[in-house]
């Protein structure tokens, strides 16, 4: 059975490694501010204890006060999983660092989030619209579209 790691225990270990970042944990997931997202992801991927080498899914949700980008991580060796979240409070040009250099599987999924939600990922090699055409007005999956 894939064990879903407890967010509080992992959160404490991550907070020990990164004392300057504000890491919170709710029932299911660790919440990280966007500035320290890349370092935390790098830490989770490369520490032998966690070894999260497989990015299962990358998605985003629009709560009207903030955007939340959710990463589901899995380790193939230890068979455990974790949910990592980050919140971006800007509405006009939200930016979240890209994790393509760690997991190449994030490539097309980040393009999809940019296309449908409008979140920009600096560091992505080819951030263009993927499903809709250039010139489409707006980002459809936002809650205030139509």
């Amino acid at each position: 059975m894939t064990v879903a790691l407890k967010a509080e225990t992992v959160g404490q270990k991550v907070a020990q490694a990164f004392p300057t970042a504000i890491i919170t944990a709710d029932k299911e997931a660790i919440i990280v501010p966007p500035d320290s997202l890349f370092q935390v992801a790098h830490f989770l991927k490369n520490t032998p204890e966690f070894d999260f080498d497989y990015l299962t899914s990358l998605t985003a949700v629009d709560y009207l006060d903030y955007f939340e980008v959710i990463y589901h991580l899995t380790s193939l060796r230890y068979d455990h999983s974790l949910v990592l979240k980050t919140r971006c409070y800007e509405r006009e040009r939200p930016t979240v660092p890209s994790v393509v250099s760690l997991w190449q599987g994030a490539d097309l999924q980040e393009r999809e989030v940019y296309d449908l939600m409008g979140i920009i990922f600096p560091g992505h090699p080819n951030l263009k619209r993927i499903f809709l055409w250039e010139g489409f007005p707006g980002h459809p999956l936002r809650r205030d579209y139509l």
């Binding site: 059975m1 894939t2 029932k27 299911e28 080498d53 497989y54 990015l55 299962t56 899914s57 998605t59 949700v61 629009d62 959710i70 589901h72 193939l76 068979d79 949910v83 997991w103 190449q104 599987g105 994030a106 490539d107 097309l108 999924q109 999809e112 449908l116 619209r129 993927i130 499903f131 809709l132 055409w133 459809p140 999956l141």
Partner: protein, 367 residues
């Protein structure tokens, strides 16, 4: 004297002979060798994720059928599993076994269509497709016996399945399972006995193990590259922990391995079906679920092993009758992440075959 050539950009446009759907490839070619590839998608983007936010949980089940339309019941299965995880619904045993039987029959139809279209791209045009569809029609007759539809079934419901199986179903399935091993031997022999096809598929389009894990490939593509990861074994859902089967794993990660893994999976599906039919208990097929379901405010990620890979649904609810966020983790789209690295350096004809061996269905890629 060295020959000088210049690169050309070839556009394999949205309408083309390969029957996988509407995608567009912009290839930069140096002679016949591919030096760069760009994939343009979105010609079938119907906005399913946005539409689902305006419908109730039960009304979304037919929308999920239209995703991977070659294996519709597995999409229903994944969605219903996610909602049951979100709302804490229990499913009776007979319904679990029926779901497993339908899911494995769907795996057979999906892999049959894959073999037919791969041979279509290797050059044998429609002839092998006739044979595959002959067997696929037999399985579609079984589905029609149960729920009345041939392609988009809408069979699973929240808390069970919609119809019980009639009496002719089990004898018909047993007849089919007696014939399947002979057909599977025929299909395995189609490529492994043919020199030309072996030369075109062995060693072509290799995806190494580390690259496959890094690119989040899943399903037969990941298993052909040597990683033994099958959701039915590592994270069993429904009644798969009571059934005994093996997981075929390839070694090299080329087109031949992806074909071989799927043929072996067909054999294992036959094995699972035989056990499931013997263990099928009597009982109810559906548990009591309120008509307008209001799950508590939380989120859930439910996943299954679909014929294309790991199909997951991420649902967020805010205690109302419609989901707040409905996200699909599409295996076909994520398997395409590594396409560029697999194709560069091969010739134009190989590019089409490599794309075909990834088994994409554009309904799922574009949603």
């Amino acid at each position: 004297m060295p020959l000088k050539t210049e690169p050309i950009v070839l556009n394999i446009g949205p309408q083309h002979p390969s029957s996988h759907g509407l995608f567009r490839l912009r290839l930069t070619l140096d002679g016949e060798v591919v030096t760069d590839l760009e994939l343009v998608l979105g010609y079938l983007h119907r906005g399913i994720e946005k539409l689902a936010e305006g419908r109730t949980y039960a009304q979304n089940i037919p929308l999920t059928d239209r995703l991977d339309y070659l294996a519709s019941m597995t999409n229903n299965f994944a969605y219903v599993l996610a909602v049951e995880k979100l709302a804490g619904i229990k499913v009776p045993e007979r319904a679990e076994y029926l779901r497993v039987i339908m899911a494995e029959l769907m795996r057979l139809t999906s892999h049959l269509a894959f073999i037919g279209f791969l041979l279509n791209e290797l050059g044998a045009y429609f002839t092998p497709l006739f044979y595959m569809f002959r067997d696929r029609e037999k399985i579609l007759d079984l589905f029609e016996m149960v729920c009345g539809q041939r392609l988009t079934y809408n069979y699973m419901r929240l808390g069970g399945v919609s119809h019980d199986i009639p009496e002719e179903f089990i004898p018909a399935v047993k007849r089919l399972l007696n014939e399947m091993p002979r057909f599977t031997d025929e299909y395995e022999q189609l490529i492994s006995g043919n020199e030309i096809l072996l030369a075109r598929t062995k060693g072509v389009g290799i995806l190494s193990r580390d690259k496959a894990i890094n690119a989040s490939a899943s399903g037969p593509v990941l298993r052909a590259s040597g990683v033994k990861w099958d959701i039915r074994k590592v994270d069993p859902y429904s009644v798969y922990d009571r059934l005994d089967f093996e997981v075929p794993v390839g070694s090299v990660g080329d087109v031949y391995d992806r074909y071989w893994v799927r043929v072996q999976e067909m054999r294992q599906s036959v094995r699972i079906l035989k056990q499931a039919i013997e263990q099928l208990p009597k009982g109810e097929i559906r548990s009591e679920v309120p008509h307008l379901l209001r799950p508590p405010q939380s989120e859930a990620y439910g996943r299954i092993e679909a014929p294309k890979g790991e199909l997951g649904f991420y649902l967020v609810s805010d205690n109302s009758i419609a989901p707040y966020r409905f996200h699909i983790r599409p295996p076909a789209l994520i398997n395409l992440t590594a396409l560029r690295d697999m194709v560069i350096g091969w010739k134009l004809a190989d590019a089409v075959v490599i794309f075909g061996s990834l088994d994409t269905v554009l309904g799922e890629v574009d949603r």
